[in-house]
Symmetry: C2
């Protein structure tokens, strides 16, 4: 668990896109962020208060979260001077970078000297068990996609927020680096050893109240040949009661695979449900989440209406039109 | 690559079963083993020549292969004295044990001093790429099972042997520790990081002659919730042209999962083929391999005949009745 609240480190982010992690935290857990920290040359802005390390400390910040992708894949000298100053003031540091904090001797030495923690969420910090497949109490919802990066994290986040707004019991369960930094906990599934993938998801989504829902962040796609094994571990380790189909209708081909086309939503429904029912025979497909960012409002609405008729399932873009329909479908189960 | 030929170290194996790896080498690559090395208290025997380290060395042995599971999960002091003596005589050591050779300081020191290699096939020695899904030349056959441990390695080994006996081009591709030690090369898939699973199988089964077959060792099962993700990475990374369905008809439940039943062979066929056709639209299910070790000969033959009628596919037990039918089916593709 990463200690909250955070000060969000934007460094010298070249543009807004580079600050994806920080934006996710600001959008989904604004209460976790006391402010942002920018360096010279930073072109990203979260629209929240600019704070110095000392000011944020006074406002209670416990962890400096690196909310930005680093240039060139290395932790620069300019970044380091800030990080070390933060450590010396008692901050923990959390990062999802490939360049691990723990591989930087000066950061490790400073953290040891000051008794603070370095969190590298890129890689697991837990020795996960092998999955045992035992039926767990509580309910689980998993977003599965026709492709990678079609909005599965966003869908689970939006449904979780809507559930809690309605006073229902829900926990977003992060399975990727961004989700872990946003919520402070989770499993970096893409970095787990093959034999322990499904077990890590059982560990992430344990027994719970009968009326509690885990909203599990999806990864990859059963139809994406590079990452499908990771997805199936989620489907079987997560033991979902409900599946949400996620889709981005304007893709020319599968992400990173120019020779592959997305499956139809019918194919995704049939294959994902068949596999999910191995782990949970009562699993149902309850709704469709469409990423319509590249469509005009009228086209998007027409597409969603058509999809609802065609699939006999509620369909929405939770970012654009809210997650209400999907939560209604869960509640009706 | 592990240097051949081997001297097979049986240590103080409590029984024949503990020497599974050595038996596999003797059965499938007898030309790789110059003899066996037994210690006091060894209750396993391969029926091949007992040799001292020096005698085996003279016969050309390059690597001492630990062909036995160790008691208590640790490399004992008694074993170590033999291993160090072997290293000092110039042997490489190869092991699939969880207790890694490289974690034993005295073995590492001896190997460094003598310029010999320690091979821990339990874990990867290669940084595998992320799968790119590009169509590769050559042909590939993958064994998929209704459960774990139903004879997938045996099936691929037997088909590979039959292919080569017929003068056809075939390479067994190991994906587990035993297979790697038998053949001297392969991918320890269960120990690969999630994101690189499918890529490791692409790496293992590269472009080849149009009439060459890779016989890929299967792992787990698409229906085994603990390991299904590993299996799907094989299905997508392996890009198989042909699938062999593997089954053990007398199981009361899925291995290690008392609450789960094996799927039917029809279910396995449909699910595996649908998923395999994502990576290779031309993939076909060509035959069935049944592990009949717990059935009488007449019952086994009746079962196989019934299965052939029911599934319209050739069915055999390659251990008992040879792999000819399965290789005929491949050749007919």
């Amino acid at each position: 668990m990463i200690k909250t609240p955070y000060l969000l480190f934007l460094g010298d982010a070249p543009d807004q896109l580079a600050a994806k992690v920080a934006i996710g935290i600001k959008d989904w857990r604004p209460e976790n962020a006391v402010g942002q920290f920018k360096m010279n040359g930073c072109n990203a802005d979260l629209g929240i208060e600019n704070l110095s390390l000392a000011e944020a400390k006074e406002k209670g910040a416990k962890t400096l979260v690196i909310g930005v992708a680093n240039r060139g894949g290395v932790i620069s000298a300019a970044w380091k001077s800030v990080l070390i100053e933060a450590i010396e003031m008692g901050y923990d540091i959390a990062s999802g970078l490939h360049n691990l904090l723990r591989d930087e001797a000066d950061l490790v030495a400073a953290a040891q000297a000051n008794g603070t923690e370095l969190h590298d969420v890129r890689i697991p910090s837990v020795q996960y068990p092998i999955a045992n497949g035992k039926k767990r109490t509580g309910k689980r919802c998993l977003a599965v996609g026709t492709d990678c990066s079609v909005g599965k994290m966003y869908t689970a986040m939006a449904m979780d927020a809507e559930m809690r707004e309605r006073g229902l019991k829900s926990t977003f369960r992060a399975t990727g680096q961004t989700g872990i930094l946003i919520t402070g906990d989770g499993v970096p599934l893409d970095a787990v050893i093959a034999d322990f993938m499904a077990g890590s998801i059982e560990y992430l989504t344990p027994d719970n109240d009968d009326d509690h829902w885990d909203m599990i962040e999806g990864q990859g796609s059963l139809f994406h040949v590079s990452y499908s094994g990771v997805t199936l571990a989620l489907v079987h380790g997560g033991q979902p009661d409900a599946l949400i189909l996620c889709h981005e209708p304007t893709r020319a081909h599968m992400r990173g695979l120019p020779d592959y086309q997305q499956p139809s939503l019918e194919d995704l429904r049939d294959v994902a449900l068949r596999l999910a029912q191995v782990g949970n025979p009562n699993c149902k497909v309850v709704g469709i989440s469409v990423n319509t960012q590249h469509m005009e409002d009228t086209a998007a609405k027409a597409y969603l209406a058509e999809l609802e008729a065609q699939m006999s399932l509620p369909a929405t873009d939770p970012y654009r039109y809210g997650a209400g329909k999907l939560v209604d479908a869960l509640a009706a189960l």
